[in-house]
């Protein structure tokens, strides 16, 4: 498998890639790719935890939803996240589609002066969006707005 985190070109913003042995791991690494643009993740203390839950049957829209919920929660709570966990729970409570319910956590801390400052990622977009599986490896990618 290639590197768990990678970036690709976009004229104005940045493309991010997360890879893993499962779709959940690929999404977690996509989140790391996003937050690593904002700071050095190795410096982030894991002092606060935020739960993220959503329903989305479409894997590509699920990636965008996951990343945007993380960014929204981070900004609204003035936190920077450094570690992510995501689980796909199978069928939604409504039973309308399988694999539609996702629950996860993001851990991090409030911004402090010592944290390295990168660039603010404002949101994940539908541009360059793809979630693919090949030879047992998953890859999740999209362009994020900077």
């Amino acid at each position: 498998m290639h590197e768990p985190i990678a970036y690709f070109e976009h004229a104005a913003d940045m493309g991010i890639v997360g890879r893993g042995k499962s779709i959940e791991e690929a999404f977690e690494n996509a989140a790391r790719a996003v937050f690593a643009m904002m700071t050095n993740l190795g410096q982030v203390r894991l002092q606060a935890s935020v739960a993220i839950e959503f329903e989305e049957a479409d894997p590509e829209l699920a990636l965008v939803t996951w990343l945007n919920l993380l960014l929204g929660q981070a900004r609204s709570r003035a936190l920077i996240f450094g570690r992510f966990h995501l689980r796909r729970d199978g069928a939604s409570p409504k039973g309308t589609s399988s694999g539609a319910r996702w629950s996860g956590t993001a851990e991090g801390e409030p911004w402090r002066a010592e944290l390295e400052r990168g660039v603010e990622v404002k949101g994940a977009t539908l541009t360059g969006l793809a979630v693919t599986q090949r030879d047992g490896n998953w890859e999740a990618r999209c362009v994020v707005d900077v």
């Binding site: 104005a12 913003d13 929204g72 900004r75 911004w111 660039v119 603010e120 707005d145």
Partner: protein, 477 residues
């Protein structure tokens, strides 16, 4: 971009010839061959997609600074008629709703400023929250935030930020009608709680500039500009709230388009008929975000004035103009000899009303609206003046910036933030930022030649050059 499918109308304006069997509205690209060759091929693909959308009036157009965007290209302009099934598109407005530039003219010249520039740059850097992780001092309750969404810069004025004269020189007098805070999600509102009066990151900045050269003496006189004069430019938008509105409605409008049978060549073109419930909801939320942006730039203006007052007590900072470049505005334009009410999407494009337009302040009515083209932190910016519509031909629109020439990723491989900042300092440009990565990504060399963009804007008839500005100090996000 391959120019093979482009037909030259003038050396500064090209049309895209249709593919065999292709049925779409016309596509017009305002630029010369040099600028077009430098554009990503995606620009052509995206503007051709726009030309397929329902209710488009006239051509889908790109400005000279166009580059690859989301759905619409950045630098894209398109007008839709609600009565003809016309649509509104979140991708046609952009994520940073009402991102724009506030330009302030000062009574200072470079000679007066120079000895105190360093101290002023430091103070502005402390006073203006900029970059990732920085919050403003103003924390608003949900009720107060609703009031900002309804009141825009006028809310800020009522709360002590700025002076009444500012309002005359802001589009829509600082407050756009039709804002519906109830159409803005709770998450969008929560994201904005600590972000009023913040600059943001990316290509946003507060810059101290000096007028290097006047090109149009009459317009410069009307705008109060003279060579050697110090100006301040504030480039930012609606921050987290605007972005969340864009994100939320992208999904809402994409689902509406599917339900209503609107074919979307690209999902980011997500749109709905203006008259549909979803279209109306987005309009209400977008207008609320526009008012957030107008209030934000008003608060930043106040903070900048306070910093100047501490270092240069004699300084007076007047609003020259505040213009947004990510909007959809309801405007009347003459089409085929008849006035029509249109929803004009400008995504990375500046409104550029010509002389005599009723929306312009009396002081500028004779010469046309100030059009502000923001450049990179090391090169320059321009002020232009709007032309009459028969000369403009793009629903009174013009360029908004230099436009990126290379990706952020490429820029990071070429430049290092700290070295770049030292080099710019040696050239007499002070950069203040917390992000070395951000500085490298925003390297002047990563942008197109802003002078060529301004020249193309003039020669294609979109607007005429008034003044060239050079940066002296820049607070970057």
């Amino acid at each position: 971009m391959d120019l093979g499918r482009l037909k030259e109308i003038t050396p500064w304006c090209y049309a895209l010839t249709p593919l065999p069997g292709e049925e779409r509205a016309p596509v017009r690209l305002y630029a010369n061959a040099e600028l077009l060759r430098g554009m990503d091929a995606k620009v052509l693909e995206q503007i051709a997609n726009v030309a397929h959308l329902p209710g488009l009036v006239g051509a889908a157009m790109t400005m000279p600074d166009a580059h690859w965007g989301y759905g619409f290209p950045i630098g894209g302009v398109a007008a839709f008629d609600a009565e003809k099934g016309g649509i509104i598109s979140a991708g046609g407005v952009g994520f940073d709703i009402s991102c724009g530039i506030r330009c302030l003219r000062t009574n200072l010249d470079l000679q007066t400023l120079a000895p105190r520039l360093e101290r002023l740059a430091d103070l502005l850097f402390r006073a203006i929250p900029a970059g990732v992780g920085e919050e403003g001092k103003l924390k608003l309750s949900p009720g107060e935030l609703d009031a900002v969404m309804r009141g825009g810069a006028q809310w800020a004025l009522r709360h002590g930020y700025g002076v009444a004269e500012d309002m005359e020189y802001i589009e829509e007098h600082g407050c756009v009608a039709g804002a519906v805070p109830a159409e803005v999600s709770d998450l969008a509102k929560r994201r904005q709680r600590g972000e009023m009066g913040t600059l943001g990151s990316g290509n946003h900045y507060l810059e101290i500039q000096v007028v290097e050269r006047i090109y149009d003496a009459a317009a410069a006189e009307a705008y109060g500009l003279a060579e050697g004069q110090v100006l301040v430019a504030i480039h930012c938008g609606s921050r987290g709230l605007g972005h969340q509105v864009g994100t939320d409605y992208l999904v809402t409008l994409a689902k509406a388009a599917g339900r209503l049978g609107i074919r979307l060549p690209e999902r980011e073109l997500a749109c709905a008929p203006i008259k549909s419930p979803e279209g109306q909801q987005y309009l209400g939320a977008m207008n609320a975000a526009i008012n957030i942006a107008l209030a934000n730039r008003q608060i930043l203006t106040h903070l900048a004035r306070a910093a100047f007052a501490e270092v240069l007590p004699e300084a007076a900072l007047e609003t020259l103009y505040d213009v947004s470049h990510n909007t959809c505005k309801v405007e009347t334009h003459v089409v085929d000899g008849k006035p029509r009410v249109l929803y004009v999407h400008r995504k990375g494009a500046t409104r550029a009303f010509g002389p005599g337009h009723a929306a312009l302040p009396e002081r500028y009515r004779r010469v046309g609206q100030p059009v502000i083209i923001g450049g990179s932190m090391g090169t320059g910016s321009w002020i232009l003046a709007g032309n009459p519509e028969e000369q403009n031909g793009a629903y009174a629109s013009a360029s908004h910036g230099a436009g990126r020439a290379m990706s952020r990723h490429q820029a990071l491989r070429i430049w290092h933030g700290r070295e770049l900042i030292h080099k710019l300092a040696a050239d007499g440009i002070l950069i203040r930022t917390r992000s070395m990565r951000g500085a490298a990504e925003e390297a002047p060399g990563a942008y197109k030649d802003v002078d060529l963009v301004a020249e193309a804007t003039e020669k294609s008839g979109l607007a005429r050059r008034v003044a060239l500005l050079r940066p002296k100090a820049c607070v970057k996000g």
